[in-house]
Structure formats: structure tokens, C-alpha cells
Amino acid sequence: MKKNNLIWLIGKIAFWILVIFIFFYMLFPFYWAVNSSLKSEAQLQMTPATFLPVNSEGRFAPTLQNYVAVFNDGTFVRALWNSTIVAGLTTLLALGVGSFAAYAMGKLRFKGKKLTLYLILSLTMFPQITVLSGLYAVINTLNLGARISLILSYMIFTLPFTTWVLTAFFKELPTEIMQSAWVDGATPFQTFYVILLPLTAPALVTAGLLAFIAAWNEYIFALTFTTIAPEARTIPVAISLFTGSVSRQVPFGEIMAGAVIVTIPVVVLVFIFQRRIVQGLTAGAVKG
């Protein structure tokens, strides 16, 4: 009996060590970014690297100068603005257009439905990189602004996804609601706006959040299409090309400050909508 207790205790301790290890593994790089962002140029070059922003006497001495520098640097603030606009409008467009298509595919009967479903699903797996050069040509021909080009090109990965998630949601709504509205003389459009759309609010939040994060993250299109339009660069591009205003070396302090600034809002969003995001991520993969 005593031996069993001991095994149980060892198991328990091992389990908690594992939990704590996983916890640190996932958060440590972010902690390191925060730590480094609070160091001055001299502190950053101190060897060995310190786990807290300390000065040469070993006293705790954080500085906000990297944050000040980043906010005074026009490039970063503009990139933040560009990313917000691009990701925001991408999300709205993908949700609007996607919910139309999803209503049709989830609730209406029409010829060619299966084909459309296949088309949308295959597009959710479409390798965007394939069309990079083709899209570049299209954008150059149409002579669109860089930001508009980004919003349009982000439809490749956001629109099939929102459509797919919303279609699954519409399918599960009871058809009787819709039919009774039709009996009352509502047109299919009215049924959609007045009755079904409010019911889909939770799915809209899920799909919207994931679309926003995907657009906020996107790098290759943003890098390619802003090659000659630096004023339209989004956060990932700005951070990958960041050279800073004064220092000769790569200004890692400022980069880390930028990293912290752009990560915090997304992490807050993710914490608030945790459950919904997990549902959305697993919707396609597990339910399928």
C-alpha cells in the first residue's frame, strides 16, 4: 500500500514537472522578447545574456527607450495602421461575401451544388504560393494600389475558409425556421437577413477571428506586392525588413519591442475568444 502511494506521488510530481515544462516551452520565446525589449543597446550586447534587463552592476534597470523609438519611427506606426486596415477589411469582405455563398450552399437547393462545394473545399487547400507570379501580373495589369491588392489577394485563403465554416453552420440550422418564413411570404433574401444572419453570429465571430489572424500573419504576398510600395507595408514585412533609425547593427531591441506590441493585442483576442477559436480550428479537421 505504502509503495503504491509512493508511485502515485512520483507520478504526480513527474506530471507537474511535465506541465510546467510545456508551459515554459510555449511562453519562453515571448518572455525573451519582452526581456530584450526592455534592455538598452548596451544591455543587449552584454555577454553572457541576462534573464532580466539588468545594468552592469547587476541591478534591475529596464528601459522603455525601444518602445519610444519604435513609436517615433514612422515606418512601424504606418505598418501597424496598414495591417489593421488590410486585415480588418479582408475580414469584413470575406465574411460578407462568404456568408452569402454559405447560405446558398448550406440551405438552398440548386443545380451544381456538389461541384461548388468541391470547388470551395479544394480552394481551402489551395497553395497560395502557386499563383504568386500570376497574381503579381494581374495586379500590375489592373494597376491596383498595394493595399487593395493585398485585400483582394487575401481572399484566396480567407474566402474559401469563411465560406466553408459558415456553410457547415448554416446546414445545422433547422430548416423549419426558414420554411416558416417563406410561408409568411418572406423572400429568400429577407429570410437570410432577418432570420438566419442573426442566428449565425457565433459562427461569424469564429470565422472572422481566424480570417483576421490569417491576414494579420500573411507574409509572402505582402512582401511581394509592396516591393515598390514601401508605404503600404504591413507588420510582418516591416518587422522582417526593420533596420531602425539610428543604430548600425540590426536593432534587435526595437524589433523585440515591435514584436511585443503586435503580439499582445492578438494574444488578448485569443484569450477572450479561446473556445470559439479552438472550435473553428477543429471544425474542418475533426468534424469533416
Binding site: M26, K111, K114, L132, S133, G134, V138, P236, A259, V278
Partner: protein
């Protein structure tokens, strides 16, 4: 009368459906189908970007594909010592000396450059490629995809099993798992770049030199032996939580009663895992695996940020040819090759999901 009503209602429904689909299909036609067609077409031309000349691009058939994928295998003859007339032996290694690859590989009409060498039945061969950079890019991408997806699945399964058990702080753990996923990939790459600095200002060199590994000047990003493991480590950090979340969702679908039944039958933890958890998790695992493989095959961000022009993935080579070399025809051919490679995986994915079964 009633029947006519019904018919017109069905027609109305159909018409509404088409109207609702038009905006989505128009947008997708503009940003996906037309560019895809354009890429296929351009891949057969010698189009360059903003060439300054008014010359229209010419159709050149499969030339782009040939120049990307052209391979040749040549035997390397042993170097014969002129004085003795026998094969010369390297004095340091005691192995025979072979002719240099560059002298053996054909140079005209097209030049083949060395990709790698191998020995078979005592003979030495060299594999020459018309574009060894692209061959390496394909190889790098495949190695990266296979190893990182494998590690992510194993680690993800481990994390999911831990988080799936009952303990205080489970909610916090689950929220924490979303952090690496939510960090912008480029941002995480730069954070890692900073941690991997080749001096003791970097975290890894500080810690490793304290443990007695290296002198605090390991350059993870430029030493060939460390490059791929580093890239994989960065990707594994970012994506394992995502895998764990997918697997966790699968675990939660397994009814608890099965485990109770297993316990009653006297099955231990390991037995339960092998005969209940794993088989029932198989569909989830298969889908998550392929889902991630598709993603890993188009990897761009980590390669571009951490490696630049030192090492390419298929996607970053495509970007380099398009923007760096302004070679649109060639870049398009790369796009098509990626398309087919990923397409094969996607078809498997569709089969596994069984979409046609509704």
C-alpha cells in the same frame, strides 16, 4: 396549382442561390482561377518582368521545366597517377582520388552543375542538375516538411494527452497553447533569430556555453549542419500547439466509458492507450498530419526571414526568381511544380475526409 407554386418556389430558390454565389465566385475567379491559368500559360514562355524591351514573351515549350528539373548522372573516373600508371590514392584518407565533378559534367549545349555525389558498387557517381539550387530547395522543403510534421505530431500528441487529463490550471494551459500559434510567424522567426545570435548575447549560446557545449559562438544560421535543425526547431515551437489542439479535440470525442470498460477488464494505462486511444484517434491524426504537411510544403516565412539567400525552400526560391531575378516564366514553372506536388497530398486529404459522403 399547388404544384406550379412549388415549382416556381424551387426555381426562385435556385435563382437566389446563384445570385448569392456570384460575388464569391467572381472574386475567386479574379484572384485564384485566372492567376492560376496565367501561371500555367506563363510557365511555357520566357517572360521576364519589366524587361524594358517591347518584345512580347515567346513560347518556349517545356524549356523552363527542363532548366529547373534537368538531371544527369555521370560516373567519376579514378584519377590515374601519370608516373606509376595506377589509380592515385589520397595520402591522408587512403581512399582513391576521383576526377573533379566539374570536369566530368556536360557543359554544352546546357551546363549541369554538381548536386551531390554517391558511391555504388565501388564506383563513384555525380548527380548533376541544371539548377542545383532548385533541386536543393525541393529536397530542403521535403526534409523540412517530413521531419517537422513528424515531430509536431509526436510532441502534439504528448501535449494533448497531458492537457486532456484532469488537473487544476487546465484552462490556463489551453489558453497558453494558443500563444505560439497567435504570434505572427515572421515575428516568431525574428525572436528566434535574436535568441540564436552567434555570440553570447544570444540566449542559446549563453546557455549552451554554460553547459559546456561550444564556446558561445555557435552560428546556428550559417553552419550547414545546424541550419535545418534550427529551422525545424523554430517551426516545431510555433506549430506543435496547433497540432496539440487538433488532437485534443479528437481525444475529447472518445467516450469515457471505453476507458472505464478497459479498466474493468484489467487493462493498464499503456494497454488502454494502445488499444483505445490510438485506434480511435487515427482519423484525427491522419487529417491533422496531412493538413500540416500541406502547410509545411509551402513554407516560406521562416526560410525567408532566417535564411534569406543562404538556403531556399520551394516557395522562397519561387519568390527569389520572381522578385530577385525578375524571371516570370521560370517563377511560374516553379509555381506549377509546387501546385502538382501539393495537389497530390490534397487529393489524399480529400479522400480521408470523405467529403463526397456528405
Amino acid at each position: 396549382m399547388a404544384r406550379k407554386d412549388k415549382l416556381s418556389l424551387a426555381q426562385k430558390e435556385q435563382r437566389t442561390a446563384y445570385k448569392l454565389l456570384i460575388p464569391a465566385l467572381l472574386i475567386l475567379a479574379l484572384v485564384a482561377f485566372y492567376p492560376l491559368f496565367q501561371v500555367f500559360y506563363t510557365s511555357f514562355t520566357d517572360k521576364v518582368f519589366a524587361s524594358g524591351t517591347d518584345e512580347a514573351p515567346k513560347l518556349i515549350g517545356f524549356e523552363n521545366y527542363k532548366s529547373l528539373l534537368g538531371l544527369t548522372v555521370m560516373e567519376l573516373p579514378k584519377v590515374v597517377d601519370e608516373t606509376t600508371g595506377e589509380a592515385s590514392i589520397d595520402e591522408d584518407t587512403g581512399k582513391p582520388v576521383y576526377e573533379r565533378a566539374i570536369r566530368v559534367l556536360p557543359r554544352s549545349p546546357v551546363r549541369y552543375r554538381e548536386w551531390f555525389q554517391f558511391s555504388l558498387f565501388g564506383r563513384r557517381y555525380v548527380v548533376g542538375a541544371r539548377d542545383p539550387e532548385f533541386m536543393k530547395a525541393i529536397w530542403n522543403t521535403l526534409v523540412f516538411a517530413v521531419i517537422s510534421v513528424f515531430l509536431e505530431t509526436v510532441l502534439g500528441l504528448g501535449v494533448a494527452l497531458v492537457v486532456n487529463s484532469n488537473f487544476r490550471g487546465k484552462g490556463i494551459m489551453r489558453a497558453t497553447m494558443l500563444v505560439p500559434w497567435a504570434v505572427i510567424t515572421v515575428v516568431s522567426a525574428r525572436i528566434w533569430e535574436w535568441m540564436l545570435q552567434p555570440t553570447r548575447a544570444g540566449l542559446f549560446n549563453t546557455v549552451l556555453s554554460k553547459l559546456g557545449w561550444g564556446d558561445g559562438d555557435l552560428s546556428f544560421l550559417s553552419m550547414p549542419a545546424l541550419q535545418m535543425p534550427t529551422l525545424i526547431a523554430v517551426d516545431v515551437w510555433k506549430t506543435t500547439p496547433f497540432m496539440a489542439l487538433l488532437i485534443l479535440a479528437g481525444l475529447q470525442l472518445i467516450p469515457r466509458e471505453l476507458y472505464e470498460a478497459g479498466r474493468v477488464d484489467g487493462a493498464g494505462r499503456l494497454k488502454q492507450f494502445l488499444s483505445i486511444t490510438l485506434p480511435l484517434l487515427k482519423p484525427t491524426l491522419a487529417v491533422a498530419l496531412i493538413f500540416r504537411t500541406l502547410d509545411a510544403l509551402r513554407v516560406f516565412d521562416v526560410f525567408q526571414v532566417l535564411m534569406g539567400n543562404r538556403m531556399y525552400s520551394m516557395a522562397s526560391y519561387n519568390y527569389y526568381q520572381l522578385i530577385g531575378n525578375r524571371n516570370m516564366g521560370l517563377a511560374s514553372a516553379i509555381g506549377v511544380i509546387i501546385f502538382f506536388l501539393i495537389g497530390i497530398f490534397a487529393i489524399i486529404y480529400m479522400r480521408l475526409m470523405g467529403v463526397d459522403k456528405e
